[in-house]
């Protein structure tokens, strides 16, 4: 039974008909890996699915019910990790996580600590974000994602700027999310090392010709 199903998705960007009649289904505990050339519309697809971008047409079904991508009930179960990690440079890693996750759910300081430990970021948890490297910032963003406890993850190039250990961390976070029955849509070319039953891939851009 698919938890997330998309039918008849059309997106225009300016004059370009970028996504044409796209349809796919994601069952619980499955990661849909979105692949395609640069500019094919991977980010656009994830932004449309997260309600950040308006689609020309979209039939979205989430857990058996038709929803609009801007419904607050749908957003409450969705996390979006984009190119910009939404961290304030004047705040520490721990403060940022407490705020970003606090918008969604109550967090105690030990929750924040355990999230930072999950991404091996305890050492810089009390340093302001401005003093962290891009890879360290990405880890902090991943900690917030993990702590948010949402069922559906939209990840746009989650492993950007991360070293080998960080890429393994992304794979293990996704693994953990899937084994808890969650869903992941990830735009990445990285091999996540998932068993075949837990992954599917969606290639987009094959129809992405100019009209």
């Amino acid at each position: 039974m698919s938890e997330l199903s998309v039918k008849n998705l059309h997106v225009f960007r300016g004059e370009r008909h970028l996504l044409r009649g796209l349809g796919f289904e994601v069952p619980a505990g499955c990661c849909l890996q979105v692949v395609g050339a640069n500019g094919a519309g991977k980010t656009t697809l994830l932004r449309v699915m997260s309600g950040l971008l308006e689609a020309e047409s979209l039939e979205l079904t989430w857990r058996g019910e038709r929803v609009e991508p801007r419904d607050p009930e749908y957003h409450a179960e969705l996390s979006y990790l984009g190119h910009d990690p939404a961290l304030k440079s004047d705040f520490t890693a721990a403060e940022n996580i407490a705020f970003n996750v606090g918008l969604r759910r109550r967090v105690a300081s030990q929750d924040v600590r355990s999230a930072l430990a999950r991404v091996s970021a305890e050492k810089f948890s009390d340093r302001p974000i401005r003093s962290l490297s891009a890879g360290q910032r990405r880890r902090v963003a991943l900690a917030a994602l993990w702590l948010s406890g949402t069922r559906l993850w939209m990840l746009d190039e989650p492993a950007t700027n991360l070293d080998a250990a960080g890429q393994a961390l992304v794979a293990s976070l996704i693994q953990e999310q899937l084994s808890g029955g969650g869903l992941v849509m990830a735009a990445t070319h990285q091999d996540l090392g998932l068993p075949a039953a837990q992954r599917a891939s969606l290639e987009i851009g094959v129809h992405g010709v100019r009209t």
């Binding site: 309600g51 308006e54 607050p72 957003h75 409450a76 996390s79 705040f91 606090g102 969604r104 759910r105």
Partner: protein, 229 residues
């Protein structure tokens, strides 16, 4: 792990306290509009005339134009940073009503610029020869007026999100909308200085503030959604 969802009210509270704490860590942004207001108002005794009688006649206009431009100066930074670091995207997808979060941001902006500007006005008023009896009226009219200015400004800042270096455009968009506030605010101040009842313009300022409080957060939320596309 028991997950308790954050209510819209406490989410708005989080945004408000976050903005206030950010401002405290970067006090220069806080001081700039105030310094600008002080310099503009104090240039008039130097450039026009040191005679207090003549200054008193132009004091309402000077105070209100100064406060208007100073609050406009601080507007550009209202959403700029949140837009560039991805925070606004998270506001949209966090499942909380964007209107409530926008209202919280606007309130934070008013507390950080409108309120200090209001409190500073009587001090500058003294330099312009405004009698002490007029101060309560000036304070009250500015209190109402700056609320509306912050609200109008939030809509303008939302609309210019997608525009690179939108500072001038932001002013062009918001200044015409701020004209009623300027007209009634300056009138109220004038009446306060001449010792007459200023309830008329004060009521109108209040009406504008109520109109802004009800409509501006909705418009700002819609503008931010469009700006992020």
């Amino acid at each position: 792990m028991t997950v308790r969802r954050t209510t819209a009210f406490s989410a708005a509270g989080l945004v408000l306290t976050r903005d206030l704490r950010l401002a405290v860590r970067r006090p220069s942004q806080l001081i700039q509009p105030l310094a600008f207001f002080a310099v503009v108002a104090l240039l008039f005794p130097l450039g026009y005339t040191p005679e207090l009688g003549k200054l008193r006649a132009i004091a309402p206009g000077v105070l209100w134009v100064g406060a208007l431009l100073a609050s406009m100066l601080a507007l550009e930074s209202l959403f700029r940073e949140d837009a560039s670091d991805g925070t606004l995207e998270q506001f949209v997808v966090c499942g909380q009503p964007l209107v409530a979060l926008m209202a919280a941001k606007t309130l934070a902006h008013w507390l950080l610029t409108g309120l200090p500007l209001t409190l500073m006005a009587p001090v500058l008023g003294i330099a312009l020869g405004v009698p002490v009896e007029a101060m309560p009226g000036i304070l009250f009219s500015l209190l109402l007026g700056t609320v509306t200015l912050s609200l109008i400004g939030a809509v303008g800042a939302g609309l210019t999100l997608g525009v690179r270096r939108g500072g001038v455009l932001l002013s062009l968009l918001t200044l015409p909308l701020a004209v009623p506030v300027l007209v009634f605010g300056a009138r109220a101040t004038e009446l306060a200085i001449s010792g007459e009842s200023l309830m008329g313009p004060l009521y109108l300022l209040g009406a504008l503030a109520v109109l802004g409080i009800t409509l501006a957060p909705l418009a700002a939320a819609a503008a931010v959604r469009i700006g992020l596309e």
